[in-house]
Amino acid sequence: MSWFLPGLLLCVIAQAVLLGPVSLMEIRPDLFLVLVILVSRRCSPERATFLGFVIGLCQGALSGAPLGLHAFTNSLMGFVIATLSHHLYTDKPFALLWFLLAGSAAASGMRLALLTFFMGPRPLVPALLWVIIPEVLYTAAVGLLILSSSQIRAALTRTV
């Protein structure tokens, strides 16, 4: 896990600065969640929970959200994904895509619920149409590229 801190720093820079030009309808992929998934598939649930908490704190500090919001969702996602990864086979791209879609949708849903609980009701339809669905799709697509990069590289090597 020596790559965790550089990975986290890269996520911070990418999410705050680099992803601006590739945003679609002002929506950017949630790279922090992709990092949580990446980390959680390779370590124990306890460690994944702690690292998810740390990632969430950093994400919270870089946004206008309450500080614990992303720490809550990311630590829970880390725990669930690390637990499931030991029982599910998620190496196939199609399975991984569904895994990412479900994970991203669950995280967005939890955030909406927590925001509603702490900061008052949010308009559901605009939240779904303009934030949750685009974010889930974009995060899943980018996450699939990142998480299956080793398989893509291997396939390219075989082709060459």
Binding site: A16, V17, E26, E46, C58, A65, P66, L67, R122, L129
Partner: protein
């Protein structure tokens, strides 16, 4: 003692998960209810640690992008045109730099003109980052409390309102845009002096709510800050009315508005520093005779 340790070891997974969730919940509660020193310190420490990297990256991107573009261009050149193309590329780069400088000068001149006309004390800041989530609309500026930035100071662009400072570290500041879903700015229809509350609606545009049902509001009306609430001075342009909605049975009417400032393309902004001179803006909004 041994039993306790064995229990801890046996249930460590549940204990770690519960601790993380409870701590997160506690942080959220503290921040939403009281804004305690612990939350503020944690937040500012993390932001302070990351802001140098963000600033350096933002400053490097423009240079790297142009170098990369040149590299890609050069790779596609034919051998016999190499020398000529290199010369053209060099000239082009110089031209790009000059054009960029001219555009920057133009933007800064507009900021200066605005600063001079309002007689208020401003601080110019560069936008170096955006919100790390899609739920909030905030931006990160390259100056902080060391330059005199304080919480709740209004932030403007040449065309109008941008938002207010919500978080300050010694070297950076976070600005909540007025299009944020939890932002609320007192708005005034300039033509008829009808007041309402301007706020964001996630991705579904910016709205002005609580307009009196009989208030005269039509598409194209200009909306400016009303000065109510004490944060924003009166008379800063916010946007223009795009659509008006009058629902049957409703106590108020609502309208959507097009912001005066393109908030997705902000590069430099002005922070209104002195509270005493904010009243100077009021003179810019004249009541129609």
């Amino acid at each position: 003692m041994t039993l306790l340790l064995r229990l801890l070891a046996r249930y460590r997974r549940a204990i770690i998960l519960t601790s993380a969730l409870l701590l997160s919940f506690l942080l959220m509660t503290l921040q939403v209810r009281h804004e305690t020193a612990v939350v503020t310190f944690t937040r500012q420490a993390l932001l302070f640690a990351f802001s140098p990297f963000i600033k350096v990256t933002a400053a490097s991107i423009h240079g790297v992008a142009s170098v990369w573009q040149d590299y890609v261009d050069l790779r596609t050149l034919r051998e016999e045109n190499k020398r000529l193309q290199l010369e053209v590329s060099t000239l082009k780069r110089r031209l790009d730099q000059l054009q960029e400088q001219a555009l920057e000068t133009q933007r800064l001149q507009r900021l200066l003109a605005m600063r001079d006309s309002s007689q208020a004390e401003f601080l110019t800041a560069r936008v170096v980052g955006k919100d790390a989530t899609n739920w909030f609309k905030t931006i990160l500026l390259d100056c902080g409390s060391m330059e005199g930035v304080r919480r709740d100071q209004p932030v403007l662009a040449p065309n109008g309102l941008v938002g207010r400072v919500v978080e300050v570290t010694p070297t950076s500041a976070r600005v909540q845009l007025f299009t944020d879903a939890v932002s609320a700015v007192g708005g005034l229809i300039q033509r008829t002096r009808v007041t309402g509350i301007v706020s964001g609606n996630l991705g579904a545009g910016t709205r002005i709510r609580y307009l009196p049902l009989m208030g005269d509001v039509v598409v194209g009306d200009e909306v400016v800050t009303s000065g109510m609430g004490g944060v924003f001075p009166k008379g800063i342009p916010i946007g223009r009315i795009a659509t008006v909605e009058r629902k049957s049975g409703a106590l108020f009417q609502e309208a959507t508005l097009t912001p005066a400032v393109d908030l997705s393309r902000l590069e430099e902004v002005l922070i209104l520093k002195s509270l005493e001179v904010r009243e100077g803006f009021e003179a810019r909004t004249e009541r129609p005779q």
